[in-house]
């Protein structure tokens, strides 16, 4: 009996150790950003990944050397394009990095106690085109697909992707490269000239930057931290790039500030660069300093006119990686738009019977944006079937068989998706017929949509039971 008690006790202790070994989270709240960067760097050798948070949304910026396999401009100019899709075929290496970063994000978020609902991955071609692929996903969907609660096909439908053009990346490129090379010790005065449209002079580069470039050899262990970098379009193809940087260095004579140094190590400096396209890339035309050295050799800020209100205005300047918080309703609306687009393209009957179909879902949540201060979905629609006249009325539209078929598909997609997400943060779905502006409104309650989803109500009854407020 004692023998069995000992064996059972040992087994229970080992099981307890096993169970308690699973108690801690691997990535606590405060370490999520650093963990993502670290994993990308160490496991996948992906550098310069940026991570930001906006509420319950995490954004990851992935700079790529090349996003698409083809040089789009060249291919377009060559005239040898068979189909447009081939233009946007991703570079295999880019795809691999994209997948690795996505996997890293999911790993970290699932093993963290930070409450994150959405992730956004912005994979940008920072070298040549500025094109970026933005992927947006819902974190619970990641959990569900791993537990086989939803299929991979369904999961792919739920991840939104957009192709955008990020001009800030191109504008900021010469500035970033200048300072990056300087920090790496690979820059000198001569080589810095490649980033400028004209030879570097104090008038072009500003005395402070000129001095910086000219005295690079007097410093060692230079570290440049770009605290803020923003850009905007200016005029005549030119753009403005604002930069705030912190420079730390060691003088050549350790422990002693060189006579040539104008400012101590750790100084924070600001510059405004004017850039314009030259030789297929952007180059610096002019540098506007924010600081100067006075007679007493003290670093001082240039007093700018107060009406410029630069500090406030700068906040509005876009960064190359900007993140806004995503809400569930908004996410669902965007997803619905994509799903409906796919549906419209793939359905045979629609293809043969509908001449024009316009569908747009939006979600209104903020009380100031809603007339009745109730969060709701809005469906803007307009359909023209092959048998329909141009001056059709809403009644004609609603009673058309093909339109009803279309509405049935769209509303069912909506109802199923909302149900799948168990989303209850809306009060109604309003249907707005575009040609009438926002005046023709049908309001459908969630309960009615539930009945419609369960096929206890057909689309005619659904639409008929909610007479338009105005025809």
């Amino acid at each position: 009996m004692m023998k069995y008690k000992f064996q059972i006790s040992t087994f229970l202790i080992l099981c307890t150790l096993l169970i308690f070994s699973g108690c801690d989270v691997s990535y606590p709240e405060e370490k999520v950003a650093s963990a993502i960067k670290e994993i990308c760097l160490q496991e996948y050798k992906i550098e310069n990944v940026e991570v930001k948070f906006a509420g319950k949304t995490v954004g990851v910026f992935l700079p790529l050397k090349k996003l698409f396999a083809m040089d789009i401009r060249q291919e377009l100019l060559s005239g040898n394009i068979a189909n447009l899709e081939s233009l946007f075929e991703p570079e295999p290496e880019a795809m691999e990095q994209l997948e690795n970063v996505l996997f890293t994000i999911s790993r970290v978020l699932l093993s963290s106690d930070r409450e994150i609902d959405f992730y956004l991955l912005q994979a940008t071609d920072v070298e040549s085109t500025g094109l970026q692929l933005v992927l947006m996903g819902y974190v619970p969907d990641v959990r569900r697909v791993r537990l086989w609660d939803i299929s991979r096909t369904e999961y792919r439908k739920r991840v939104l992707h957009e192709l955008k053009f990020n001009r800030s990346v191109l504008w900021e490129k010469p500035v970033r490269q200048l300072f990056t090379l300087a920090a790496e010790g690979k820059l000198n005065f001569e080589s810095a000239g490649q980033f400028f449209t004209k030879p570097i002079t104090p008038e072009i580069a500003s005395p402070l930057l000129y001095h910086f470039l000219a005295h690079l050899e007097h410093k060692q262990n230079i570290r440049i931290e770009l605290e803020d970098i923003r850009s905007r379009a200016y005029k005549n193809n030119q753009s403005l790039v604002y930069i705030k940087m912190k420079e730390t260095f060691e003088p050549m004579t350790p422990g002693k500030l060189d006579a040539e140094d104008l400012y101590p190590s750790g100084s924070v400096l600001e510059y405004m660069f004017i850039v314009e396209p030259a030789d297929k890339q952007f180059k610096i035309v002019q540098v506007v300093p924010f600081y100067y050295i006075d007679e007493t050799k003290t670093l001082k800020k240039v007093p700018l006119p107060p009406e410029l209100d630069l500090d406030r205005n700068l906040d509005a300047w876009p960064q190359r990686f900007h993140l806004e918080e995503i809400t569930v309703g908004d996410f669902l609306a965007r997803q619905l738009n994509r799903r409906v687009q796919q549906m419209l393209l793939s359905d045979e009957r629609i293809h043969h019977t509908v001449r024009h179909a316009q569908v747009n879902f939006t979600f209104r949540e903020e009380p100031e944006k809603t007339a009745d201060q109730q969060p709701h979905f809005s469906l803007y629609f307009d359909f023209i079937t092959k048998g329909m006249q141009k001056d059709r009325t809403l009644k004609e539209v609603i009673s058309d068989e093909d339109v009803l078929y279309l509405m049935d598909l769209i509303l069912r997609e909506f109802a199923v998706l909302i149900r799948s997400y168990r989303f209850e943060g809306y009060q109604y779905l309003e249907l707005i017929w575009e040609p009438a502006g926002s005046t023709a409104i049908l309001k459908i309650q969630p309960a009615q949509l539930g009945q419609f989803r369960e096929r206890k109500m057909n689309v005619s009854t659904l639409l008929g039971s909610n007479p338009p407020l105005r025809f």
Binding site: L14, L17, G22, V25, S26, Y27, R107, L110, S111
Partner: protein, 553 residues
């Protein structure tokens, strides 16, 4: 090598499989814990969540696999589930073995030999290999073996020979090998081991060889036993085999009985008067009893009883006392217990009056025949209350043990057996089915007399049953059968004459049985005394004398 080291090595060798599996399990669990620690928490939680179900699935698979493996692949049929018992745990001392003093003396010698085996080795003598205990059932063979184990302070492995025998050939031999392997392992650790094989005749009978050169399954089992005990591979370990059997020695294979295997033969017989007295004293000492119980009287009543039967009598008496609401056992309960065990429990079947009458005369016939014609037995009870499968019974037994029987005694047995038949025929002119058991007994004795003992009237002398029947001449067989028949007829004639001669007593007893259902010894003797019929065996019944005293029986 010290004893502790030997025992440690023995345990390690016996359990090395379990030790390795245990270590492997610990390492695996440790690695799992370490691995889990290095996983990210999401995967850790997923693993932990699915672990119970996975463990359940693995456990089910393992059980199925282990069952199949042990039952089919690894010769699970050959596995024995015998646990060894330490000598001290057996806890049967020699003082507890009562009533078989001669056998005890021999067993004590065996114990001394086992204990002194080291000295014997020095001298160059050979250690005892096997002891065969022969005797009827219930006489204490197993008990004595346990006492040997306790006194010798050695581990004790006990098995029945029938456990070795299976329908599949080779399984028995495999089990013998397993048993001796375990015994040798224990002998290594403890300096010796006792293997007790009960019912040895189940596998130890003379080996049978058929025309094809093969034999039965028991052959291979027995061969393996022979080899283990004293074959080429037998090692110099102190493994002593004690066998027990109820069968005669000649039933067993000679190879088992030769020196080097079952060296010693201990004959355990039923206890004599003194032995029975000791047994009654011993078992009564374990229960609350009336101090006036005369164990000598009980011993005389229990002639031919084995120690197990005596124990059973005392236990039954205790139950009877409990049922009757008594606190102690008295002579009455013991008598009732003897009767219950000997004769059986009374049946409550309702006989017809004619059947009762027939039964009464039948039993009266037996009674008279035994009383007048039997040289050794007295009638202790006559009853027409149905018991077991009989409608009546006459219980008779000798007052002393007899170890041999002469012709007169055998003839008397036959006469007593057929007396029931004769009584029915004399009284009613027709006989019943109740004579079948009596005829069986009578036929057996008569056949035994003629075929084995040379007591037939024709004068054929010898044991004709030892000759294969097909080798006997038909004339001889016919003659012997005629002799058997003749003996029966002569006995019947004698009984008939007796019953006719003593018809008054015969009628009286029948009447008494019909009236009283049962008659005890004293009542029977009293009735005979009424008719002036003294007990031919010189025994006087207890009766009240004119002065009010009783003559002690």
């Amino acid at each position: 090598m010290s004893n502790s080291y030997r025992r440690f090595k023995m345990h390690y060798l016996n359990h090395r499989g379990k030790i390795f599996i245990g270590l492997a399990a610990l390492i695996l669990i440790g690695l799992t814990i370490w691995g889990m620690g290095s996983l990210e928490s999401y995967y850790r939680n997923i693993t932990l969540a699915t672990m119970p179900l996975q463990m359940l699935m693995v456990a089910v698979n393992a059980i199925i696999f282990v069952y199949l493996y042990s039952a089919v692949l690894r010769g699970g049929f050959g596995k024995i589930n015998q646990k060894s018992v330490k000598g001290s745990d057996v806890n049967v001392r020699f003082a507890d073995v009562v009533g078989i003093d001669e056998a005890k003396e021999e067993a004590w010698e065996v114990v001394q030999l086992i204990k002194d085996h080291a000295r014997i080795k020095q001298i160059g003598g050979r250690i005892l290999r096997g002891i065969l205990m022969i005797g009827p059932p219930g006489c204490g063979k197993t008990y004595l073996a346990k006492a040997i184990a306790t006194e010798a302070e050695l581990p004790f492995l006990s098995m029945s020979a029938s456990e070795f025998v299976e329908i599949f050939v080779g399984v028995g031999a495999s089990r013998v090998r397993s048993l001796f392997k375990k015994a040798r392992s224990l002998a290594y650790g403890f300096g010796g081991c006792i293997v007790f094989i009960d019912e040895l005749d189940a596998m130890g009978r003379n080996r049978v060889f058929n025309q094809f050169g093969g034999g039965s399954e028991t052959n291979s089992t027995q061969n393996q036993l022979l080899v283990e005990m004293d074959g080429l591979n037998s090692q110099a370990q102190n493994v002593i085999v004690i066998g027990a059997t109820n069968a005669q020695e000649d039933v067993l294979d000679p190879a088992l009985l030769r020196p080097g295997r079952f060296d010693r033969k201990v004959y355990i017989v039923r206890p004599g008067l003194e032995g029975r007295e000791k047994l009654f004293t011993y078992y009564l000492g374990k229960v609350k009893h009336d101090a006036s119980i005369d164990v000598g009287h009980l011993a005389r009543k229990a002639v031919g009883k084995s120690p197990a039967e005596i124990e059973s009598i005392i236990k039954e008496a205790a139950l009877i006392a409990t049922r009757n609401g008594k606190d102690v056992i008295s002579y009455k309960e013991i008598t009732e217990a003897i009767e219950r065990i000997e004769l059986g429990v009374k049946n409550k079947i309702k006989m017809q009056d004619s059947e009762k009458e027939m039964t009464a005369f039948h039993e009266a016939g037996h009674l008279l025949a035994i009383y007048f014609l039997h040289p050794t037995d007295d009638v202790f009870k006559a009853s027409i209350i149905p018991r077991k499968s009989s409608l009546g019974v006459v219980h008779h037994q000798p007052r002393e043990e007899y170890f041999s029987h002469d012709r007169d005694k055998l003839l008397a047995d036959i006469k007593c057996a057929v007396a029931g038949y004769v009584a029915e025929k004399v009284k009613k002119g027709v006989t019943t089915t109740g004579v079948s058991a009596d005829f069986t007994n009578a036929m057996k004795v008569a056949h035994f007399m003629v075929w084995k003992l040379g007591m037939g009237p024709s004068g054929y002398i010898g044991d004709y049953s030892s000759i294969p029947e097909h080798e006997l001449a038909e004339t001889i067989k016919t003659k012997l059968n005629e002799d058997t028949n003749q003996i029966l007829k002569e006995c019947m004639t004698d009984v008939e004459q007796l019953l006719k001669r003593e018809s008054v007593v015969f009628e009286r007893f029948a009447h008494e049985l019909l009236t009283r259902q049962e008659l005890e010894f004293d009542e029977i003797e009293a009735i005979f005394a009424e008719y002036g019929k003294a007990n031919p065996r010189g025994f006087e019944a207890k009766r009240t004398l004119p002065d009010g005293s009783t003559n002690n029986s």
